[in-house]
Amino acid sequence: MFTKKLREMGTNQLYKGSLATIILKLLGEKGRMYGYQITQEVKAISSGEFVITEGALYPMLHKLEAQGLLTVEIEMTGNRMRKYYSITKNGKKEVVDRMTEMESFIRNMQSLLNPKIEMA
């Protein structure tokens, strides 16, 4: 149990730094989404491995919106209002930059952790 908790924390720490990239990439692919939908979608894609906590998601969404990487639309859904986020032109450019950065990070980590594979 304790080990599992540690493992979850570890995974989350790794994902935490990539939260903005994950959100931007997701909105770039899926079009507009609302907060709860994003949490569910990330959970589904990562087969439940990565759960975005609400306490982390909303501050990040608001930050990306303030930076002009996301734009919002508010619509009435049933008996309540819903705020949809979609990616902006600047957001799309940012995704490309961040993905390149992340890919090179993964490559570097792989060669660092598995030098033998690199040699072969």
Binding site: T53, E54, G55, Y58, P59, I74, R80
Partner: protein
């Protein structure tokens, strides 16, 4: 079997719940209510008989120990950062072509006024009269720019931020007024034959110009942007 949905009363209850959790602004409440509602309805798909309150607290637990507080603080911080960026970007334009020409022109005109006044108070006041008119116009404009006619009964973070900027503007507005009073004092005390330093006068001319740009940004440009953003997001809450 039809899916269990929240009733309008339960939605209203979620808004009250947000207030209990120290989220008082509708722009944030609305998003959190939708999240809670969507999560509760999802829970009901798995356990249709689950009590509303139990479902609500289970969903709220997902927000962690800090609950909504962390989200509210982060949102306030982001709003401040966003419009501070808007402010400095606007000011920055006056130091790039083409607007830099205007900045240089105003600085040189003010510098000319200082030189021409030759430490003579009457001349100085006469030449500076247009600047005082500019300050009066700014003060007049700001009253109009800082108001959004809202449907009563709701408060918005964005509108509160507009009021916050206004309070900053009110303080900033005092600066050129005091600067002028000090300069007039200085002129009254200084011997007219004393040589006046051209560099100091050029510096003062530049500072007055810079501050004027700052005031225009604070009183006209930034509130205009906030109002545009507000009207785009919440047109239904603006009184026509």
């Amino acid at each position: 079997m039809t899916e269990r949905k929240l009733t309008p009363e339960q939605i209203e209850n979620l808004f009250s719940f947000c207030e209990e959790q120290e989220v008082y602004h509708y722009d944030l409440q609305m998003e959190l209510v939708d999240h809670l509602a969507a999560a509760i309805e999802q829970k009901w798909q798995e356990e249709p008989k689950l009590n509303y309150n139990k479902a609500l607290w289970a969903v709220f637990d997902q927000f962690g120990v800090s609950g909504f507080r962390k989200i509210r603080r982060a949102k306030e911080k982001e709003l401040r950062k966003k419009y501070s960026r808007v402010l400095w970007q606007y000011i920055g334009e006056f130091f790039k072509l083409p607007k830099i020409i205007l900045t240089i022109a105003i600085t040189l005109i003010l510098f000319g006024i200082f030189r021409k006044s030759e430490n003579n108070l009457d001349k100085f006041l006469l030449l500076l009269f247009p600047y005082l008119i500019f300050l009066a116009v700014i003060q007049f404009m700001n009253k109009k720019k800082y108001q959004i006619s809202l449907v009563p009964g709701k408060s918005f973070l964005l509108n509160d931020h507009l009021k916050w900027i206004k309070s900053r503007f009110d303080v900033s507005f005092q600066v050129p007024t005091f600067a002028l009073i000090f300069y007039i004092e200085y002129l009254q005390r200084t011997n007219a034959y004393q040589a006046h330093n051209a560099y100091v006068e050029l510096l003062i001319a530049f500072l007055v110009t810079f501050f004027s740009i700052f005031l225009v940004a604070m009183s006209i440009y930034v509130p205009k942007r906030i109002k545009e953003d507000f009207i785009r997001e919440f047109p239904q809450f603006v009184k026509s």
